[in-house]
Symmetry: C2
Subunit: 302 residues, 2 copies
């Protein structure tokens, strides 16, 4: 569906901001057959995209006017506001959709939405849940909020960037992105800690890191899958693996890593959490009942 | 390959100890066509296995004599030592292989190996890296140490319990299992913390837990995969995602979760780790360089 274009929508999409993420977004869209215009504050960065048939604009205004939808991948919300702010009166935004992937708070995002609405345009705020190398991957997630009509109009385009392009209301979108980030980054930083501990325990990191990851990935995926079934209504009765059993195991693991000279602040926090669950009386429940120290039991009941 | 059997190896394998894990091991082996004998201290527990064609022994000695290889899944190493100790002089162990999956320290395992060797038998110490429900799964891991010849002789049998049946020397086996456990349990407990935070941020746990898991699994797998490539020799130059960038992001995520009333001790530890990496001068390096605070740089170089 082509939007009203004020007579100058010669391209399918514009990308403003050519850092690592913006560059890969522009290239991915061009490779998938979209006619792409780009703009970057310092002009040199766009040159590498010429080979992909991308059109380079001299100004942000030219880029905004060039397409019905513009994707902003600027340093942060402030730069996004500066870039759009001066152009609201120019008519360059009128009838267009802005998809803002620049990072920033929910408040900044909503402020920008007001500014864009005032210029007769629609704003979609997006958060990309992947590193640039996974732009275009069918398993990547991208969470959107703001104008749901504008999102639906451009869903197909946005799905070229992340197979799972999801839309939620403002608060839920930020909460969802925050939860995904917290889980992802804990798993990642824990892996660095574990790799260091593996070295202290006498394992070669270069050779063993991949095997540690492969084995723990399957093990953790299964454990979390079981917890999700319990959240969904299966309950927290202890059968295979109680909090008491885990607490004993965790303490043994931590003591062994320490005895070999490893520093494990993240795993120490994990041990402290399971011990707190024990203190709060959940020792004989399944390990997933640990969640009860973080959320009231009503959160799990239908 | 059939071992010398002292004339009484009427079964392929015996399983001693019928807790959740032992019961599933016995059932899995019977379902895969093995002739299985079992023994448990309290006799009632074996009854459910009759339907699987499993033979129930009255004593541990009968079970050990019944097969060339016996799998021990007892409460812990002490119970395993008690069970085998009294039978060493009886000749029940002679020429046989004991695969001990009972939990215990490396020292206890090695002590048991001496005891078994003295009775003219071979010991394999194993650590099962899965919950009972994943016994028999091709992606499950089981780490073995002890007598490598005995492991090779029974590898095919042990692979029926876990697709990845791995053998390593004593110290490496314990280190590998410890590292896998630490990474797995951190991912699991972090998920409980994140589920609680999601509730505080206004997301329904029952409905959203699965999506949070799916999205973060792919994101984390990719991030860790990239780190492994760096450990393997690609280096830690910052290009897409420096420690400085992550520190800012982590702080924002933590502050938002806190502002919504969430308690996040594990993620707090994660934030502290990345801040320490920054203090130690790695701010402009890739996030994977965080590992340098846990292991010396030489650990990553060929």
């Amino acid at each position: 569906m082509r939007e009203q274009n004020n007579g100058c929508a010669d391209f399918d999409v514009s990308v403003l901001g050519l850092g690592a993420m913006g560059t890969i977004i522009a290239r991915t869209l061009a490779e998938r057959g979209k006619r792409v215009a780009v703009w970057n504050r310092s002009p040199g960065k766009a040159e590498g995209l010429r080979a992909n048939g991308v059109h380079i604009c001299d100004t942000a205004e030219d880029a905004l006017r060039a397409s019905p939808v513009s994707i902003l991948v600027l340093l942060n919300s402030e730069v996004a506001r500066e870039t759009l702010g001066g152009l609201c009166a120019s008519g360059a935004l009128a009838g267009r959709t802005i998809v803002n992937y620049s990072s920033g708070s929910a408040e900044e995002g909503q402020e920008l939405q007001k500014l864009v609405s005032g210029a007769d345009a629609r704003l979609v705020k997006g958060t990309i849940m992947s590193y640039p190398r996974n732009i275009g991957h069918p398993e990547s997630y991208c969470i959107h909020t703001g104008d749901s009509g504008a999102f639906e109009d451009h869903r197909e385009l946005l799905e070229l960037l992340a197979g799972h392009a999801i839309f939620l209301p403002w608060k839920e979108a930020y909460a969802f992105a925050t939860a995904i980030n917290a889980q992802t980054f804990t798993a990642m930083l824990s892996f660095f800690e574990v790799a260091g501990a593996a070295h202290r325990m006498g394992l070669p990191i270069r050779e063993m890191a991949r095997q540690i990851n492969d084995a723990s990935r399957f093990f953790a995926a299964d454990a979390i899958e079981d917890a999700i079934r319990r959240f969904e209504g299966a309950g927290f009765d202890g059968d295979q693996a109680t909090i008491d059993v885990h607490e004993a195991g965790f303490t043994y693991i931590r003591d062994y890593m320490r005895s070999q000279g490893a520093s494990t602040p993240i795993f120490d926090a994990v041990c402290e959490v399971v011990r707190r669950a024990q203190r709060e009386g959940y020792g004989e429940a399944d390990i997933a009942a640990t969640t009860k120290i973080f959320a009231p039991t009503e959160a799990f009941t239908a």
